[in-house]
Amino acid sequence: MRNIKISVFAAAAAALLAGCASQNAVYVESGGARSIVSTNKINMADWNAASADLVSELLASGAIDDTKLQQPVKMKVSRIVNRTSSPVDTDLLTRQICITLSKTGKISAVSDDSLTDELARYEAKRQGKTLGLPKLTMTGKIVEDRESNSDLREVTYVFFLEVNYLGKAIWMGQKQITKQQERGGVGW
């Protein structure tokens, strides 16, 4: 009887110490301070940081205002070249930038959707107008650089972005994000 009591007590204590841990997932803020970062890919925190820094830099430069174009200025996101070792969806960068720029009232992003474009052209034609072309384009490139030694692996992602008007870059920005991880950690 005494042994049973001890066993029950030990089991209860073990459960208490383990915090009755379950295998349930928990919510964390997307790209937030508790999200996972690794050296094997561009994490959501990296996309967030790159887009926030680049858009702040673009707005602070006054480059859009300097064009003297009527705002919101139509802007088309053109090619973002991916030179990293893994396929990425560059919308994670450009969409966030377009959303923020649209809210400032300085930019209106031109849709990539063919039906939206077709309807806009039809409506313009019906009203005897021509559909204005985007005045600005956004282009860019994402580059990856890897380095390692016996203890650490390191990856740097460089996000280049430029806004062009009349064939010239009116603003160019870059954001570098470097991450280090001990060898043996998760990643490669």
Partner: protein, 137 residues
Amino acid sequence: MRKTLAVLLAACALAGCSTVNTVERASPQSRPQMVNDKRVITNPDLDDYAYVAGVNESVVGGNLLKIQVKIVNSTTAPRSVNYKFSWFDGNGMEIPPGPPWMTLLLEGGQTKYVSSVAPSPKAKDFTLTLLPDVREY
């Protein structure tokens, strides 16, 4: 005195201290527009290595508020801190989506500036939230 200095240096070496030295103009030409701030400190340790030394503001792009915060690591060890700006309109409503959490790396004794441009001309006020490194892996 020498013994104390030696002990301090040894402790610093063991703790992996790497403090910075800086130089700047003795009489700065810039005249930053400082913001009177209100602080809520729930983590005094964090306030040691991510001390907010000042907040200044300007207007960029014609109508967008820009806030710059001076952060000082007053310890001798390199530290990292997470920060996030939130923006509010004239009615005190938060303007979504706020800028994301960002990570700031500070060497011992280093001063850095973090800034944010308001996401809308409607933005009138801001909050900067600072958080220690909470990643546990």
